[in-house]
Amino acid sequence: MNAAGAAIGTARRERAKAAALLLPAALWLLVFFALPAFVLLDSSFDRYADAKVSDDFTFANYARVFSESVYLKVFLRSVAVAALVTAASLLLAYPVAHFIARRAGKNRDLLFLALIVPFWTSIVIRTYAWKILLGTSGAVNYFLLQSGLAEAPVKMLFSPSAVVVGLIHVLLPFMIIPLYASLEKIDPGTVEAAMDLGAGRVQTFLRITFPLSLPGVGVGCLLVFILALGSFLTPQLLGGPGSLMISNVIQTEYMETGNWPLGGALAVVFLAVSLVFVAGCNKLFKAEE
């Protein structure tokens, strides 16, 4: 065999090895993601009439999703809640991530652990804790009444704001960790160099630190936005009927109404919205580099 032939042979073997390594993950995705997604897509075109699902091909479910204003409202509300949670998380997480990355010194590991510890408690329990805090006879209201800041208990639970607060609490670490990772990578010399060249603290942050942390900002926002958009438990426990999100509506269609085709159509539209958002983010941050 000549040299070129040998090279092709080696390349072929390398490709076979890569394929063998990828196989388990690919199979897993096929069986537990691609197949169910296909079943979902398929069922979204089924007809639902008189509480029965029939196999006729129809666009009726999609027509309902796009024509009935209640679904549009839920979508818009979900996007608004997710955007608000993302923005608030970014503002809250940035100083924390900056502190851990730049100032914590020896305490860095301890602080990181503190960030991870909440994950050891079930999200259900953590969300119930907010019920105790925010309820009419909860800790916050007790404080407000005792201090005279409020005359009567303030209704905080079962509202979109309660959902936002609960989601920020649950999702904050997903913002802090990528922010920390990209802040920690910034050469501290660049910050000193900026100050040496005449930049004050604000200028240094705006011109150096923030632009260099953009990859972390992008990943953190993407993670938090997608997780918030698809959140089910937090709106279920803390939200009222007026603050349901997409996942709650989909769950209702599947488990209570039994209208699987409509639930499927909602899920497909939801997935499409999420994918468009991810693709948009990717493009934005590719352009940044």
């Binding site: 010399g189 660049t190 000193e192 160099a193 900026a194 040496d196 060249l197 005449g198 930049a199 260099l212």
Partner: protein, 361 residues
Amino acid sequence: MANIDVEVAGLTKRFGAFAAVEDVSFSIRRGEFFSLLGPSGCGKTTIMRMIAGFEQPTAGTIRIAGEDMAGRRPFERPTNLVFQHLSLFPHMTVAGNIAFGLQMKKTPRRETEKSVGEMLDLVQLSGFGGRKIPHLSGGQKQRVAIARALINRPAVLLLDEPLGALDLKLREQMQLELKRIQREVGTTFIYVTHDQKEAITMSNQIAVVNNGRIEQIDSAAEIYERPQTPFVANFIGQTNLLKGRLSGVGGGAGVADCGGFRVRVVCGFPARAGENISLSVRPEKIRFAGNLPEGANRIAAEVDDVIFLGSLMHYRLALAGGITLTAEAPKDGSLSLARGDKLEIGWLPEDGSVFADKKTE
């Protein structure tokens, strides 16, 4: 003196009980290339960071162009720094990096563009303004860092071992480049390095720093020819250090008993008989039999090893009393020695440097 640019007096920096810098004083004339030379951890970088304003001195004063720098933040000082790891802004172009200092001063755009162009010419990077930092070579990054620091026309440019990351060839090229840039702009340079060759090549004045103190400040030639402490003799170039005890002192000269042999020495300090001394003799000062001048010390030696160094030869010589010396000779065929050869070697008393040993109390 009017043309003193930097004046440092009694500068001290303590971290807790540890004194990183202890009572350091020096003055630098305008336009001078001044090096702080010493081993890593000797305090030279701390001295430089105090001049730049990134560290606050525990005691002492720093005056630049006659003004006291106490309490002034880095960007309020007429100094700019070239960082050890360069620390260029990776998200900006070459021109963006260089323009940064002027943008912070709110210089009009057209003026900034003109200055950036001049700086790119100065560091020979014309046409590279639009390049991204990660796409540059090590030497090019170096040039950008220098241009970025010079654009604000600082009175003093501080350089913190900026050539450390480059390979030898490029480093030697950049040394000459730095010298040229310094001649062209006429700015005072303070250069921090642990590389004695680098310091000798570039500097007008060298301050040798050890354990937070300055051992000697002099021109490169003076430091090499007349080291004032054993540390300086050892750190600058290669040397042979011998221990001895003085006897027969008189008229600034004496005889030192080095154990196996006695040599005549010249003392640059008031010496007393019976005093312990260190004697430094550079390898190239050692002469061989047949070439020993009048008045040289003569010692019997045996060649222990022959080391070929290209244009030079090094000979390891075993002397009486278990002492070994390294001698250097040009490889010109006038001398051919082999391991085991026995011959007489020596040096002129004035070619050795004598230091009084510190009293151990």
